[in-house]
């Protein structure tokens, strides 16, 4: 045994390594996994096994091999290859069954391992690619980081430079300020120096002047001095006198008196002027006040009624004030109370006037805004309200249709569990046909009524259009703007009628006519909407298994003709019924219709050619509807 062990050791160890690698695969690093993969893929298993056997067991050492294998297998928990020994001495026999079982188990194990290996490989690949991606990301981010870091450094540098500049500028500014201060000081010092020098010079000059004066006076030369030769006689013959000397004090007082008189006169004059100005201003104020009162008095009732602010009371105050101040005597009293009263009342009234003007301004602006619609009888707001209302109604109708459809589908779904039910259905159909005939006659009647109504509506609309008058009761009929809304309203109304009337039995083939008849006048969208029920119905009828369509009507995309409608109305749910068109009867096995299948069918349906076949069954009714549509106004 010991020899064997040594001989087989490398292979065994490699195998065991494989196993242990497999078991610990999840914990292995990617690189080691990779190498493992390489190892595994490089050595095909079958070949490996073959070579193993050729080397391991020969003719001579079968016994040993078996015993070795038995030993090995038992250590791994497999049952022993030998049969249960009956006696101690008897040689144990090889249990073929056990061997085979072991082999099988080993093979299963091998297969499992291979599968696991495959999984691991794919996972490895995934992880590898993830790793790559992450590495790329990391590199990119690193780059980004680097660039941003560089940017930051650049910005910091710039900031630093700017700060430096700023500091320099500050320094310069300070220097300049210092300079200015210095210059001012210089100017001031120079000015004082100049003044000082001037004073010195002036003193010198004065001295010289004195000297000169003395010299001139000392000469006593009368010839040089100026003299009046001939005195002027006064008109009255008297000699005038200057009254100098002697009673200087009294003269001085007289002069003072005169001076003060002059000053007093001046001040009095100025006061008079100011008084006059004041009076003028008061007059203006008073006049303004009166005018304000007269202006505001017709308005005063309104503010009082509103009573939202104190304007009413203010006005009454103002009136009282006016009564008081209208007395002329009050005017000339320039006492403070009167002044205050006047200014206060003026202020109040001014406030009222201001608010009033503002109000008027607001009104004017409003009127201006509305001005455009004044020509039309119905304002835009009304239009919008009306259209909103209509849209709401349409929405409601659509929802109603939807719920009805859902209910119907549920009903149908429960009904068509089996193909065999189709047989039963035929019996029902007969019954229902009878019932439907009755209903159809009822329908026809109603249709006639509708036709009549419609005609009268259109007549009325035309008449109204000609007269350009609008009755408030029927705002829908007015103006071409409202025409569409009207039509929508009508359509929705018809729909409602339809839904109310019937239990929406798909087998009522005649419904179509009604719809097409009424939808003809409206645009394409409404035509497609209303032509749907009949398009759906012929399939059901022709195939004898209309139930099957129900499952497929789960909000499939609309066909090209309805796509416009979807854009405009955006209510695909209402059109779900049309999708029935696109499904051929063979494909309508409810359980097997997957997502892909429906998609395919839809794409097929978008081609007109594929639809033709479906249409053929109902071509007669279809054309019928066309004809009816053309008849409509």
């Amino acid at each position: 045994m010991g020899e064997w062990m040594t001989v087989t050791d490398p292979d065994l160890s490699s195998e065991s390594k494989n196993i242990c690698q497999y078991t610990s695969e999840t914990k292995m690093s990617p690189s080691s996994l990779y190498s493992q993969q390489v190892l595994c893929s490089s050595i095909p298993l079958s070949k490996n096994v073959h070579s193993f056997f050729s080397a391991f067991c020969t003719e001579e050492n079968i016994e040993q091999s078996i015993s070795y294998l038995d030993q090995e297998l038992t250590t791994f928990g497999f049952p022993s290859l030998y049969e249960e020994s009956k006696g101690k001495d008897t040689k144990r026999e090889l249990n073929i069954v056990a061997v085979l079982n072991c082999m099988n188990e080993l093979l299963v194990l091998q297969r499992k391992n291979l599968l696991a290996q495959e999984n691991v490989e794919t996972q490895n690949l995934k992880l590898g690619s993830d790793m790559d991606h992450l590495q790329n990301c990391y590199a990119k981010l690193k780059e980004q980081l680097e660039t941003s870091r560089r940017e930051m450094i650049g910005l910091q540098e710039r900031d630093r430079q700017l700060q430096c500049k700023n500091r320099n500028l500050h320094q310069l500014l300070k220097n300049e300020k210092d300079e200015v201060q210095k210059l001012q000081n210089i100017i001031a010092s120079r000015a004082t120096q100049y003044n000082h020098d001037m004073k010195r010079k002036e003193r010198e000059y004065n001295k010289l002047k004195e000297r000169l004066h003395q010299l001139v006076m000392n000469k006593k030369d009368k010839k040089i001095a100026m003299e009046v030769l001939n005195y002027v006689g006064r008109a009255d013959g008297k000699r005038g006198s200057w009254r100098t000397g002697k009673t200087e004090a009294s003269f001085f007082l007289r002069n003072e008196d005169e001076m003060y008189k002059i000053l007093l006169n001046d001040y009095e004059y100025r006061q008079k002027q100011i008084l006059m100005e004041n009076a003028e201003l008061k007059k203006v104020l008073q006049q303004m006040k009166k005018e304000m009162i007269s202006l505001l008095s017709p308005q005063k009732q309104k503010p009082r009624e509103r009573a939202d602010d104190s304007t009413g009371t203010v006005i009454s105050d103002a009136e009282e004030d006016a009564g008081e101040l209208s007395r002329e005597s009050m005017w000339d009293l320039s006492c403070e109370t009167v002044r205050e009263q006047l200014t206060n009342s003026i202020r109040k009234q001014w406030r009222i006037l201001k608010s009033h003007v503002e109000k008027l301004d607001n009104q004017v602006s409003k009127v201006h805004l509305e001005g455009f619609n004044d020509e039309d009888v119905i304002s835009r707001q009304d239009h919008e309200q009306e259209t909103e209302k209509l849209e709401l109604e349409i929405q409601q109708c659509k929802e109603m249709i939807k719920t009805q459809q859902q209910l119907l589908q549920q009903q149908l779904a429960t009904a068509c569990d089996d193909d065999t039910t189709s047989l039963l259905r035929d019996c029902y159909l007969l019954e229902e046909k009878e019932r439907l005939k009755e209903e159809w006659s009822l329908f026809k009647e109603q249709k006639k009524n509708f036709e009549k109504e419609r005609r009268s509506f259109t007549d009325a609309a035309i008449r109204l259009g000609l007269e350009k008058t609008v009755s408030l009761h029927y705002p829908l009929w007015v103006g071409f703007l409202l025409r569409k809304a009207f039509e929508e309203e009508r359509a929705s109304w018809l729909k409602q009628q339809f839904l109310n009337m019937t239990t929406f039995d798909h087998q009522n083939s005649e419904n179509m006519k009604l719809f097409s008849a009424f939808s003809g006048s409206s645009d394409r969208d409404s035509l497609t909407v209303h032509s749907r029920p009949w398009q759906k119905k012929p399939h059901g009828v022709s195939n004898g298994s209309p139930v099957c369509t129900s499952k497929l009507t789960k909000s499939l995309p609309a066909s090209p003709s309805t796509s416009d409608f979807c854009q405009t109305r955006s209510c695909a749910s209402a059109h779900s019924s049309i999708n029935v068109l696109n499904i051929t009867p063979e494909e309508t096995k409810p359980n097997q219709v997957g997502r892909e299948g429906t998609n395919q069918k839809w794409s097929m349906a978008s081609r007109p050619g594929s639809q033709e076949g479906c249409y053929s069954g109902c071509s007669s009714t279809y054309t019928n509807s066309h004809v009816e549509k053309d008849d409509l106004p």
Binding site: H213, V216, A225, G240, F251, N255, M259, I262, L263, D266
Partner: protein
Amino acid sequence: MNFSEVFKLSSLLCKFSPDGKYLASCVQYRLVIRDVNTLQILQLYTCLDQIQHIEWSADSLFILCAMYKRGLVQLRITVWSLCTKSVSYIKYPKACQQGIAFTRDGRYMALAERRDCKDHVSVFVCSDWQLLRHFDTETQDLAGIEWAPNGCVLAVWDTCLEYKVLLYSLDGRLLSAYCAYEWSLGVKSVAWSPSSQFLAVGSYDGKVRILNHVTWKMITEFGHPATVNNPKIVVYKEAEKNPRLALGRLAFPPPRAAAGPASTTESKYEVASAPVSLQAVKPVADRANPRIGVGALAFSPDNYFLATRSDSVPNAVWIWDIQKLRLFVVLEQLCPVRSFQWDPQQPRLAICTGGSKVYLWSPAGCVSVQVPGEGDFQVLSLCWHFSGDSLALLSKDHFCLCFLETGERVGTAFGRPGDHT
């Protein structure tokens, strides 16, 4: 508009008597008194020397002629009585730009004095030359004094080195002191409005500041920029008119008049459109008395307008609307404005530029008038007769009277601004 014949004149000495009856003019040492209406010589006096100054007495009965050459040194003010032998002396008068000022009614005289290197103002009663008030002023070097027309407020301004305007009441109280700015050159000219309501102060910064008489604070300031941007302001530009081109035919040989000096060619006013740049001179910085600042100011007699001249834009006269306190009209002449004077009776401004034309502006428009006569009559100065009917135009050697039609009013006599465009 009529012109008298041209009379001889010297030293620009020509003055209407206060009562408007006479006209005194000097030719060398002769004094000629004429009748204003007939221009006939009423009296002819001959003096011993060349007359340097003449002055009418307030009652138009006397006239004073000054011959400084014959004078003697006087370091005081001497007041002689003409009817008595009395003589009064006033010491320490200050020799400055405008050191003496009489009130309009002649009742008081203010005199700037300088004693002990300090400025003082003395107010005298003119009837007996009593000193009424004496006070020192807060000035470095007083440059001028001027009474308000109502005689109750005295404006005192400092030398141009310092912007300072002081206002004193007649009784010597300091009413207010005004200083617009420091350091640079200050007040250049001062004018009271005839109503005593405003004091206009022109300064070296090219602005006129208007002070009011209630608070003595500045109401507004008028700048004198060399460009007028406001399209509301009418700018009249004097333009030379070429008569040959105007007539549209060429004479050969060209007439003498056309070939003559530019001053004899006619000129007219054109209304310049919105942004007008006026001709400005660059002040020479390194010389004393720079040609900057508002050098001349005059209120119209009705207080409505103020005419100013900025020395850095010498060709232009600014006329300001005092009611609205804004610029009203700018007149730009071809030559520097010598002087301007308001008509004493109505808002009418006469301007001369030293050329042979006289310019008249009124709110209705403006006109340029060629002074007729042989040769060049260069109008250096002008003075209005107090009635506003005539105007004396003075040149270096001659003078003439210009009669303005009394019958026709300004509006019709002068072209309206629209006529020129």
